[in-house]
Structures are given as C-alpha cells and as structure tokens.
C-alpha cells in the first residue's frame, strides 16, 4: 500500500515522493487478524460449549437387523454407567463380549457418548485399521463385516485418550 507523486525540483529534473502506508497497513493487518481470530474463537467456543449446533444424527437408533445379521451396540463414555466400552471400567475382563456364528454378518454400532474427547475402536483381524483417528464426541459409526474366521479377537480402543486403558478388554468370539 504505497502512493507516489512526481514533481519538478529547482534544477528542472523530476523527483519522486513515495508515500508509505506502513502504519495503516500494519493496523489493517492486525485488525483483520484480530477479527478472524475473535470471530473463529467465538464460533468455535460457542459450538464447543454446545450453545448451538446442527446435530440431527440420532446415534441411539441401532441399524436394522437384517437376515443372519448380528447387531451389537458399543457405547463409549467417560462418566455414568458406561465408562469405557459399555461400562468396561466396572466389569472384569473380558468386556464387552460379542458372540457370533462363523459366516454371520456383523454390525457393531459404536456410539461415543463422551461429551469431551475422541475415543478409538478396533477389532483385531476384522477391523484392524480401527475408526480412523477415533470417533469424535457425540458421533456414531457402524463397523460392518462378515465373520469368516473362527476364533476370539480383541476389541479395543486404538488412540490415546484419558481412559484408553479402560477400553482394552473387549472380545469378539466367532464360533464355528
């Protein structure tokens, strides 16, 4: 942001006067940055404190139970009766236990009922990748697969969170 003017000096040659607008430019920068930060902070703060939202997803409705399909619901929580996976904090291992038959279709409806932090969900062999990066607070996710290998497989959290260790004892038993 700079302007310039040309004027003739006493010797008859032209000299340029450059008007610099550093101060205004810096102020404009600061103002714009402050507005962006305050605006974004307000928006995100208001949303994170649940002052508004557009959450229309009903996580408490489990998926339809089709033919030869076993449907389970796993609730992840940081307080109340469900701390851990379906309250695994209060139950001896293994917990929760899901029993299915070889060849059966399986849907595990995972609900993160924690209002604070993300949690992970992984089923060894059947869902090794886990829910990518974990499930955000208040969100749900359906893990779907066909139980084509008999055995007992670990069901666990696979990201770092404050109650990670309480979500390490789930089992999926595939019976032949």
């Amino acid at each position: 942001m700079a302007g310039s003017t040309l004027r003739k000096n006493e010797e008859g040659s032209y000299e340029a006067t450059v008007r610099r607008w550093h101060v205004k430019s810096r102020r404009a920068y600061l103002l714009a940055a402050t507005l962006v930060i305050v605006g974004a902070g307000f928006f995100v703060g208001a949303y994170s404190f649940h002052l508004f939202g557009s959450q229309t997803l009903n996580c408490w409705t489990p998926p339809a139970n089709g033919s030869d399909t076993a449907v389970f619901t796993v609730v992840m929580a940081n307080e109340g009766a469900n701390v851990g996976f379906n309250g695994s904090a209060y139950h001896p291992a293994p917990w929760p236990v899901m029993n299915v038959t070889l060849g059966q279709n399986v849907i595990i409806h995972v609900v993160n009922n924690d209002t604070v932090q993300a949690h992970g969900f992984q089923v060894i062999h059947y869902f090794d990748s886990g829910i990518l990066g974990g499930l955000a607070p208040g969100k749900c996710y359906d893990v779907k697969f066909t139980a084509n290998l008999a055995g007992s497989f670990a069901v666990q959290c696979n990201i770092g969170c404050s109650i990670h260790i309480l979500m390490q004892s789930g089992r999926l038993n595939v019976n032949s």
Binding site: A33, V36, I37, A40, F43, V44, Y47, S48, F49, F52, G53, S54, Q55, L57, N78, E79, G80, V83, T115, V116, Q117, A118, G120, I131, L132, G133, G134, L135, A136, P137, G138, K139, Y141, I159, G160, C161, S162, I163, H164, I165, L166, Q168
Partner: protein, 267 residues
C-alpha cells in the same frame, strides 16, 4: 469425583517437573552432541506428536464424511488457523532461511515453539479434568487405569519439550550464556509450555467441553514447529561425510521410538 485441589496439583506436578527435566536434559546434551542430531531426534518426536494430536481431533472429524456440519467446519477452521497464525506471527524471523535466524532473536523462537506445542495441552488437560470430575473412583491413578498410565504420561511430558529444547539449542546460541541464564531460559520455556495444560485441567474440571477443537488447533500449530525443526537439518556444518545421513536417520529413529516406548505404557 476427585477433589479439584488434589487433581489440579497432581496435574501440575506431573506436567511441569517432567517438562523441566526434559528441557534440561536436551539442552545439556546439546552442548556435547552436534545440533543436527539433536534436531533430528526432536523431529522424530514431532512425527509421533503429530499423529497423537490429530487423533485427539478425531482426524479433523473425517469419519463424518461430508455430513459433519458446523462441528466439522469448526475443527478444520481451527486447524487452518493454527497453521497460518504462527507463520504470520513469526514471518519476519527468517523462518525459511534458518541459518540467518541463528543467535539473532534470543528466546523468541523457542518460546513460540513452546506455545505452538503447548496448545494441545488444553485438550489433554481438559480431558484429565473431566475424568477427575466424573470418576467414581477415589484414586486418580485408578481413574486413569493405573500406574503404567501415569508413567506413560510423565515419560511423554519429558520427551515433548525436547522439541522446544532442540530449537533453543539451535536458534538461541545458549553456549555463550551462564548456568544461571540457561536455567532461567529452561524455566521460562517450561512455564510457557505448561500453562495451556494447566488451563485445560482447571477449566475441564469445571466445564465439560469438546477437546477435539483444541487438538485441531494444536495440530495446526505443530506445522510451524515442523518448519522450525526441519530447517536446521539442512544447514551445512563442516565437511559432509557419507555417514552423516545415517547418523541423522538414527537420531530421528531414536526420537520417534522414544515416544513410541512411552506410549507402550499406555496400552
């Protein structure tokens, strides 16, 4: 529920003491070991740190696909703000020509790195505060799963500030100072790094809020640290030998494996 005082003081002690220790160790070692290896070690830590923080943000809510609504927009926006903000603040300190920044800006660069890395502590602290408030256990360690979880937390708080210490060793020319000025610097960097975590622990105890936003901001801010740590790796230092890349790779591996090892205690 664990009392506020007990949970806050425990969090304070288990955060600031390891931070001070980690910073002291890396800045002391940097007097004996060439800066490039220290930076490579810190760069290894940074890779794990990035994965950890972006997981805390549920990978910017990518599992929601295109249907994440305002929450998803919020985390992505905060991530972008985290990236741009630190580059904007530090734009006049030779961020793209690290050689020129050495010894020129005092503690400014390591302090900015401490702030950028410390932001994720808001989320960590809030998760801790919320768990301490909501647990039915009377023991903090039991609420989080036992002694090994505590060990994991302390070890990772020793390692994370080493990224700040590496920047301090490269950019602040500490070898010219006295022991007193070194300790003052280490203490200042520790405090700056720890403050967001303490704020998170206190507010998280009193209010339940979604920490994914803070992890998103912290993940974005860590990109600034990537540039600050990557630069010194490519500054020429004497006669380069064919062993140099191997030594850098080994240092990097040691860094990422150190944080991996600390995370094993949490599993």
């Amino acid at each position: 529920m664990i009392g506020f005082g007990e949970s806050f003081l425990t969090w304070l002690a288990s955060t600031i003491l390891p931070t001070f220790l980690g910073l002291s160790v890396i800045t002391w070692v940097s007097k004996k070991v060439p800066a490039r290896y220290i930076v490579a070690f810190a760069f290894g830590i940074l890779f794990w740190f990035f994965v950890d923080t972006i997981s805390g943000s549920a990978v910017l809510d990518v599992n929601s696909g295109f249907g994440g609504g305002l929450a998803q927009v919020g985390v992505v926006l905060l991530f972008l703000i985290g990236v741009v903000f630190f580059f904007w603040v530090d734009r006049k300190r030779d961020i793209l020509s690290p050689q020129s920044a050495i010894g020129k800006y005092g503690l400014t660069i390591p302090l900015l790195v401490a702030i950028a890395l410390g932001i994720h502590g808001l989320g960590e602290g809030a998760a801790f505060g919320a768990t301490a408030y909501s647990t039915s256990s009377t023991s903090l360690l039991n609420a989080f799963g036992g002694l090994t979880v505590g060990v994991a937390y302390i070890l990772h708080k020793v390692l994370e500030p080493m990224m700040i210490g590496a920047c301090y060793s490269v950019y602040s020319k500490p070898e010219s100072g006295t022991v007193g000025s070194w300790l003052r610097s280490v203490f200042l960097m520790s405090i700056v790094f720890v403050i967001p975590s303490l704020l998170g622990a206190a507010t998280g105890y009193l209010l339940a809020y979604d920490t994914t936003y803070f992890f998103a901001l912290g993940t974005g801010a860590s990109i600034y640290v990537v540039f600050r740590l990557a630069g010194p790796l490519f500054i020429p230092s004497g006669a380069a030998t064919s062993r140099e890349p191997i030594k850098v790779a080994v240092s990097w591996t040691l860094g990422i494996m150190a944080l991996y090892a600390s995370a094993l205690f949490h599993s």
